[in-house]
Symmetry: D2
Subunit: 369 residues, 4 copies
């Protein structure tokens, strides 16, 4: 099957903007990512026993106490056949006050409860009310999902990693953390990430990919899925969701972050999504507020001759950030596909990794690399 590489390693360049050092959400200063991956057993499904193919991924907006230093945030529920927790409060209050966790659907509430434990036990929060944020997609094609095997210790492990060594560096992708059992276009999916960095701002995207019919897959516009439609084995994609987390260091209002969150879906569309009826397609966008808009606005002023005031109120400056969001989302999805390895799960269900050699050939034929 060969080594799993990322899209850029194959020469695929999505869009025109430049990724950051790690081409990951961790290019946004302070953002940390940690995974806890649980893979145990094989063979027929025995609910409560396994086989287990699951986990949890933690994204921390900064290295401090998120409850005490909340970050501005917004959510966009493109299609809300999903169980994500905490999003309505984020949309009204405009802030996130815990790390963000991603997991398998039916673990959602256990994970949310463990996050509460973490906030009290580790973060020493004293408040009587905390709003945990947990996203999910459904990994039951490979995992004993009904068994709900994620425990408090796994949540703490993912958070501990997000707060330490995994910070500010490369992010593991594919079959890790919440993405462990997920699928993408009837291949193996999971966690993927990408970033766009300019002199004015950094923006990173992390996805938990779990949607798609194979024939619909496009990579940088090339109908790769159609070309790969006869790759065996395949199992019908049972669920069709994606959770997207967008981080930026630019200080923005929650309304502006909401507008950014909406753009992520344009990136999803480019890879071949039809927004399936039973998809939970959610975007959570937050800002670490570490950089002011000034340099970005100044660079636009030079271009357009407009005054600062005019640009701020018409928000022209958001266009570059919108573009960064679309590009990084599309690339994060491709990275999830590329880095995920073939997995055999419950009842011998197989999700094959997308065959990178064939993809490379197709991309070459279509003149894209």
């Amino acid at each position: 099957m060969g080594k799993r590489i990322r899209a850029r390693d194959m020469g695929i360049k999505i869009g025109v903007m430049k990724p950051g050092r790690y081409n990951a959400i961790t290019d946004v200063e302070g953002v940390g990512v940690g995974h806890s991956t649980i893979i145990e057993g094989e063979g027929p499904l025995v609910i409560g026993k396994g086989p287990i193919r699951t986990g949890v991924t933690a994204i921390v907006p900064h290295q401090g106490n998120v409850y005490e230093n909340k970050v501005r945030a917004a959510v966009y529920a493109y299609n809300a056949y999903g169980k994500a927790v905490g999003l309505l409060q984020v949309s009204h209050m405009g802030v996130i006050e815990t790390p963000i966790l991603l997991t398998d659907t039916l673990n959602t509430w256990i994970v949310a409860d463990a996050l509460i434990d973490y906030m009290y036990e580790v973060m020493n929060v004293e408040a009587m009310s905390i709003n945990p944020v947990v996203g999910e997609t459904n990994g039951s094609y490979l995992n004993d999902s009904i068994g709900r095997h994620v425990r408090k210790k796994h949540v703490f492990e993912a958070l501990r990693k997000a707060y330490s060594r995994d910070v500010m560096g490369p992010v593991k992708e594919g079959n890790v953390g919440g993405g462990t059992p997920m699928s993408g276009f009837e291949f193996k999916g999971g966690i993927g990430t990408s970033s766009r960095v300019t002199n004015e701002f950094s923006l990173g995207v992390l996805v938990q990919l779990n949607f798609g019919r194979r024939e619909d897959l496009r990579i940088d516009g090339v109908p790769v899925g159609m070309e790969l439609s006869d790759v065996k084995p395949r199992g019908k994609q049972q669920s069709n969701s994606i959770i997207i987390v967008v981080a930026t260091d630019l200080k923005l209002t929650s309304r502006q972050l909401w507008r950014i969150a909406k753009r992520a879906m344009l990136g999803v569309a480019r890879t071949g999504s039809y927004g399936s009826s039973s998809s939970g397609d959610f975007v959570i966008a937050f800002s670490t507020s570490k950089r002011e808009l000034n340099p970005l606005i100044e660079s636009i002023q030079k271009d357009t001759g407009q005054g600062r005031e005019a640009i701020e109120t018409n928000e022209t400056f958001l266009n570059r950030i919108f573009r960064a969001t679309v590009e990084a989302t599309e690339e994060a999805i491709v990275n999830a596909l590329f880095k995920a390895e073939t997995m055999i799960g419950r009842d011998y269900h197989i999700r094959r990794a997308i065959p990178l050699d064939q993809v490379k050939e197709i991309m070459t034929t279509y003149g894209r690399i």
Copy 2:
């Protein structure tokens, strides 16, 4: 302190429409309510030990398998500083597929997870994805909320009761189930219910009351709170939320149910809410779809001379249902206050029951009874 009675027992008649037999959400055929109440210990708060003043309330839309026979539903998040679970999916898909549970804030996710257990273990659902609906308000003034004392057995107990003897009859109000530790206008609050029934439809409301500054309380327009402002003891209302469940037997679309859900807030306003910044004010409305609109539309046709088609598209018929919603919500809140008894909770915090003798006197002075 005297016997706790309901608003109508004191002669208070909110609005002009008639309640059903039990003046409760159970007047909507098939709807069941069950409570599990946990009261243990007294004295200083020891997190994880108690004192415990909590519980869970279950509302079942009908006596069958809700997953197999989903009910049309809608939600309205008036102010979403709250942790309610499952609402975004309801708003997109227009159906509820589990019973609705109400509890204390920090129990929310444990309760949601136990509801999943119930759906698999008792309801024998085979699907890999279920959307539990759980509402909450914050009972930490009296309860060891951080200790999260609600367990699977309590959730199952509430559900078992909702599916059996508590069905189609009077609903226990006040310090029961999810309402156990709640406050209202700095008096004791909790669960309250009321209904409005006509020849054409039944509509019932159940609230978990936990909001209000004492001075703001109005009962049927009378400034009762101002008159009672010096009643001792009092403790500042720490949280300010209300969860409202509206049930009707009229077959409606989710858009129409959403419009109904919005009306519930008008009833809340009449009792003295300012929609506090940190309130979780959510309304969940569902329909059992047991009655068609026909008789209602016919009775309006007689009044207005309009044809059926015209009325259906302009939805004039909803006005009576809107009125029923506002009236029943206001009355359910008053019932919650009236039926709740004085409770001493953690750290000897006291929530006094609203003194009914004094209320009666005030209502008489103001010429309302």
Copy 3:
């Protein structure tokens, strides 16, 4: 019928906060209001001829060029059976870039077009795109509404007044401007205003009142409508809408202004609204951003012992503003009713002014004045 007075002149004090100097939206520095009122003809309706009972009301957020100096804003569509123009752009961009105009339903688009004229001809805007904001309620019970008698000159007149002598002073209420033909609780309605002013902020509300069934009218909780139910003549309220404009000088985000806008409906509820199915109930809230939050937050810090950072992120400070909004909205509605005079319109339709002597008697009987 006697002199028309405002609610406070009768001794009615809605809520606990203090109005500003004029108890009007113009207590927010810079906000101006101007009316153009058109009353012509009497007798049977001849569409296109009259009788005419209409007009337009202009609210300007500040005395400068609103396009060049946009103001932060938000909208809340409680029930959107209404034709208001420009609101979706406000909700996405978070700013208003023209004055706000209020008129009779079918004039809406002529008025919007004339506002465009004004922005180009008088304000000398050079942009190729302008977003006019126009609200409406339906005055067809008294007015030849289909005739659409408002012209560019009337729009310019209202705007000229809003930008000059009517600024920063008392606002004419009742049968003026856009409110000319409107009804309220089957009495005469129209324009009303009120304000709440503290050391920290000013907040003003202006309403165009056109909703209500007589029996439902409550004034400060007293069932005045029920008591006045046999006052003759009466005509069934044909339409059921209210447009509410909220202004504040406190610098807030559009998300916060949206939260404020939602509170206005609580004030509406207190006067007896059931949110009729065919109502256009819209709230537009804007901020002149002339005052920073600092003093308000400091005063809360003293009360609660919380640090500044904590208060800003949990938005506790909004509670006072929410209260001001609810109180001023309720009072503005009562002022609209009190100041409106009996009007005879098309086809000899009569809307009687609410009889203030009787109201006074009722309020006294109920112990409220």
Copy 4:
């Protein structure tokens, strides 16, 4: 420049579903489209004089009185920097009660007022309130937009055509009606349409295209814009909007139509949209309700073995309609570009038609035709 052809005439097949007879929104039975196109003058811009490059496009949902026989509808405001009229009422009431008109931004309100005239004068509506629906994009790069040259007669002309000879047949695309002065990817844009038809339903899309940076243009995944980036002349795209109308004959609720409306944006994304900050991207979806879901559900039942009830509540059947929406939207945009001819407008601004020969070459090189 050669003959302007549609995408399919060049061999481009977007997606996998089949278009209807005319590959147009008129493939939905009863839907009519009419254009009034105004092209007058040339040379320097004199506001109020010209040059004029504008018009209005009418879409009628059926051949009867739309006010009397309203159609179910929904709207989706992806990015609401736009002046569309009537959408909030549609979103709350779930119906459209007038034809839909499309025009140049600053004509919006004149056109809405003329539509009111039409409803009273031609449709003989007697109601005192009508909700006109008008969409717009900004044609000021070529047109004297501030001059607002669309008049009542043009609106009536477009409507007359939509109600007669243009019905149920090919729809004129490119520089016609509301699309007359519009741009697309810095080429000439305008009106485009496409459809998807199955045994179970028909779905058609009509767009007024006015967005895009040239380099971003993708056609069926091919980076055509990048390849054409040096085509001269070009003028920076001043505005960035698209209005999309989706029609289907399948009887659906407004919630389901809302879900469909959201999918249209996925089609937009595939052509290269980043959802510019100052874009007015609105989708209006309606159903003529001429076909029941039955056959569609039955065909899915065969596939999945699920019972009818289960499918109806989980809405699996919508997936095919979502796909049809995405495909037809993408193709409608390409058709708008392909059919639009080079236009010289005010101040000698030129929008060149996309050079079809070069496009054909590129598509061939990339192996797509």
